[in-house]
Symmetry: C2
Subunit: 260 residues, 2 copies
DNA sequence: GATAATAATTAACGTTTTGTTAAATAAAAA
DNA sequence: TTTTTATTTAACAAAACGTTAATTATTATC
């Protein structure tokens, strides 16, 4: 018998199936408070949340209305959860070509009172300029940025508290173990700009010490000097610019060979 | 209006919903070829696959029959995909309390000819003894272990080729960046046993050099000496045993502070 | 019973990297 | 002209590394 015959016999309704398949996105941005000219700015990692409207598009009372939530929505049957996340993020913020990563599935029975609804969690990295732009375009829904400490005081929808906690853990790990930090930086950056990004998630002394980090950055195989290019963004004296080099494989440095 | 009213108005059938929600498991084991007494054994990382039966439980022609596939099945509406993976693994191998981790979602439209079927990918670590046990109990379905190289020559079901590729990448990364290696080892182990496990996924010279690795293992904060305990499993001269210490937080060593 | 063989472990040592403190630099601000 | 400041280099002792060789404790062999 052929595969086709097997297919014809297959009864798709044999098992109960989910009532919904959704994607949510933890949108991260780094806001930098520029204190003065010729100074590196203090950076803070923030998460964008939206306040759920009282009514949905059909003018009905919205589920989990008035609570803060991750942006997201239902996955269509012609796309993956990852593609849906990209689409929804574009609808919400107007930005595409941003860093987006799937990091987990949230499917505990009862997590959504509407039924058996599965959520795919993603995180995205968007520049604060891009977010500011969106805010100006559309102020229908309330949108705000929260630091890691402030976010847990909010009244959060569904199981978003847990998703957010996991999202912060994942982005912290990725910032330190991969080169995603590049998405928070301009294409060319100074050692202190990269340092500031990393210090939003770590207090490692090898990173926080200027002398150590400025010396170390020159020997990292995934970062290169931009020959002869300097900037005065962060200091009076012209400062060397660096850029990430394209790597086709991830860098994996075993915990068994690190220094402690 | 209350949340309850919102719930009553909510129409669960507004969006098309998936036709199936499944969990698949990449079951890894390490087989060690013991060449002789008083010698460390050569270890190889292998993946367990099952050959899909010609007929399903209802005596119908099975979908993707005769192809090799990851064990798995449908998630029930009272459990998470992760719980389903644990249940299915127990049904399949008879083992519980093994290391199990969700690592991805596979939901590309068309990936399964039966309809819109979403697969949750997990990997599990099972000792080869536990697998050998199962083989003896039930030889109805064909089960076999394949090395990373051999597996890609097989006729694989659905999109399992991609899932397997990703599973190998994830376990490689986890073996080097976390302490999951402990699940491949007895509670107490020699430096060469740990070394052999790591060498199944890396050829890092700091790990493959005996002198370096034997010196280094003593300074790792997540491994401790078992005072006064030695074994002759791997050498004529009694060899020091080590164990992993329980850590409540993951070790994260930034790529920005590593040596290159 | 002496000798060879072997995996684990330590020693030895020159090289590299680190942590730290201090000095040098170059431009702006006072 | 002097002060200020972020960056960068220098200097140097301490730590860690890569490597080769020696030591150890046992089993296997003769």
């Amino acid at each position: 018998m052929s595969n086709q015959e097997a297919l014809d016999q297959y009864d798709v309704k044999k098992y109960r199936t989910p009532d919904g398949y959704t994607s949510d996105i933890a949108v991260f941005t780094i806001v930098s408070e520029k204190n003065a000219d010729y100074k590196p700015s203090k950076m803070t990692l923030k998460l964008m949340l939206i306040k759920r409207a009282k009514q949905n598009n059909e003018k009905q009372v919205n589920i989990e209305a008035d609570k803060w939530a991750l942006p997201g929505g239902f996955v269509q049957d012609d796309e993956t959860a990852f593609e849906a996340a990209g689409r929804e993020l574009f609808e919400e913020t107007g930005v595409s070509k941003i860093h987006l990563k799937h990091f987990g599935i949230y499917d505990k029975p009862g997590r959504d009172p509407r039924g058996w609804i599965i959520s795919n969690a993603h995180y995205a990295i968007v520049s604060s300029q891009q977010l500011a732009q969106r805010k100006a375009d559309d102020d229908a829904a309330e949108v705000a940025l929260f630091s890691m400490e402030k976010v847990y005081n909010l009244n959060l929808a569904f199981d978003h508290r847990q998703i957010i906690k996991d999202a912060f853990a994942v982005i912290k790990q990725d910032l330190l173990l991969t080169t995603v930090a590049k998405n928070f930086l301009p294409e060319q950056f100074t050692y202190s700009e990269l340092q500031s990004v990393l210090l939003t998630v770590t207090d490692d002394s090898a990173i926080s010490s200027d002398a150590s980090f400025a010396r170390k950055i020159k020997s990292l195989p995934f970062i290169e000097v931009v020959e002869g290019k300097k900037t005065q963004r962060t200091s009076k004296i012209p400062t060397q610019l660096y850029r990430f080099v394209h790597m086709d494989a991830d860098i994996i440095k075993p915990i068994y060979t690190a220094r402690y």
